[in-house]
């Protein structure tokens, strides 16, 4: 699966930082390989992120490092000169070869033709390489998705999986609904539901309220980002005893603790 276009600037920066992993990373890379616009914006994100190098304590390399670099390039130059085949000295009085003129007439076109053929083959090879790389990335994404779907299917079929209906609060229309299926032993929670689009710069965030302690984030989501239809799946701490579930409206990216209004809630008991 490829990420949605356009990839958000902050996501491109996270990718450039290397902080995105797994399926999310693969889907963005698949999209970047095919989208010139996002690819250009990714180059800019890389540039912004690269400036964090200046947070490193200033340190100059030892003076000997430059000397060693120059020694290395001189050694390489010397090696390439000595390994080049020696050009035979041209005789002042070259022998006359009647076939030489004829040979010259085909030598140049033949060389040009060979060079063009080589270039075509090289270009084709690179294109196939690129396609192969993209396909490999897609396969990895599909494998990750298949693994998640297997986990989900196992969770849905398990005897000890529980279902909790989430009721809408007055913040959302009566038609809004949500349902959570979770399995504490497997540490998987699956949410399905129907919610209107959140306000600008906001996302929905799922909360798991344990029997003891503060609510735990089950992940921030947008209605349009559900994996299949209107469903999303997340991990939760295995073995957690759940008292209830809730969905709140939070700033983009989610919050460590609920801060926004609650739109759905339901008891897990």
């Amino acid at each position: 699966m490829s990420a949605q276009h356009p990839i958000r600037e902050e996501d491109l920066e996270l990718l450039a930082l290397g902080a995105v992993a797994g399926e999310e990373c693969e889907s963005m890379r698949v999209h970047l390989a095919a989208c010139a616009d996002c690819s250009r914006r990714f180059a800019e994100a890389r540039g912004r992120v690269a400036l964090f190098a200046f947070a490193a304590p200033p340190q100059n390399p030892p003076a000997s490092a430059r000397r060693r670099l120059l020694q290395k390039i001189r050694a390489e130059e010397l090696a390439s000169e000595t390994s080049a085949p020696a050009t035979p000295a041209r005789s002042q009085y070259a022998p006359f070869h009647p076939q030489a003129r004829w040979w010259k007439t085909i030598w140049l076109p033949a060389t040009v033709a060979l060079a063009i053929l080589t270039l075509l083959l090289w270009t084709s090879d690179r294109r196939i390489d690129n396609q192969l790389r993209q396909l490999q990335q897609q396969v990895r994404v599909y494998q990750a998705q298949a693994h998640r779907m297997q986990e989900l299917a196992a969770m849905l079929a398990a005897q000890d999986t529980k279902t909790v209906a989430l009721a809408p609060t007055p913040r959302v229309p009566n038609a809004a609904w949500g349902r959570v299926k979770y399995n504490s032993r497997m540490g998987i929670i699956c949410y399905t539901g129907d919610l209107p689009a959140p306000p600008p710069d906001k996302e929905y965030q799922m909360w798991i309220v344990p029997m003891a302690g503060s609510p735990i984030s089950g992940g921030a989501f947008m209605p349009a980002s559900f994996d299949q239809g209107r469903m999303c799946m997340a991990k939760m701490p295995a073995g957690l005893a759940c008292k209830s579930f809730a969905v709140t409206i939070e700033p983009m990216g989610g919050m460590p603790h609920p801060t926004g209004p609650m739109v759905l809630s339901g008891s897990g008991l």
Partner: protein, 184 residues
């Protein structure tokens, strides 16, 4: 950041590269004097190993010497490529990943939002980045440093800082915003 006296101070990166293509050693020296400080400091901060940081520095400039003709200034800036490639290599080494990250001159485009060709510009940027980082709360600063200098993913940072994943994402986003604000 201080650097050695640069006799080619006025020359652009691109003109130096053109001369390197013609195997002009003095152009490579000028480019090295211009960027070796920041590349070395970055690698050293990641690896905390003087020999390994110097090896990365040498490899990158040797690569420029050998393949300068492949660099296309339309696709990005040379110091941008140097910073990204040095970080990739250092983190690969730190985390014992594939030792040949994809950072060929032709493969990685990096567009820097500023020109780093002069020492004054580099010093100014150094101050701005330090300002941006010092203005951040501890959590945000720790998150961005773990991501940039340790190469950690969101989930690894969340585990290290014992913070929820969503919080870590927010911290990193806020740190990036602080940097952009400082550079604006």
């Amino acid at each position: 950041m201080s650097r050695a006296q640069d006799p080619e101070n006025g020359a652009s990166d691109w003109s130096l590269l053109e001369r390197i293509v013609r195997k002009d050693e003095s152009a490579l020296v000028a480019l090295y004097d211009r960027y070796s400080g920041i590349v070395y400091a970055e690698s050293l901060r990641i690896l905390r190993d003087v020999a390994a940081a110097e090896e990365i520095l040498q490899d990158l400039f040797f690569q420029i010497w050998r393949t300068a003709e492949k660099f296309d200034p339309q696709r990005g800036s040379l110091p941008g490529w140097l910073l990204v490639a040095a970080r990739n290599r250092a983190i690969s080494r730190l985390r014992r990943r594939d030792s040949h990250p994809n950072d060929e001159l032709t493969e990685t485009s990096v567009v820097l939002p500023c020109n780093l060709e002069s020492a004054a510009a580099q010093n100014q940027l150094l101050g701005r980045v330090k300002n941006a980082l010092s203005s951040l709360p501890n959590g945000q600063r720790a998150a961005i440093e773990l991501a940039y200098f340790e190469g950690m993913s969101h989930s690894e940072i969340a585990a290290r800082l014992a913070a929820p994943l969503g919080t870590v994402k927010t911290w990193i986003r806020l740190a990036m915003e602080a940097l952009k604000k400082e550079l604006a």
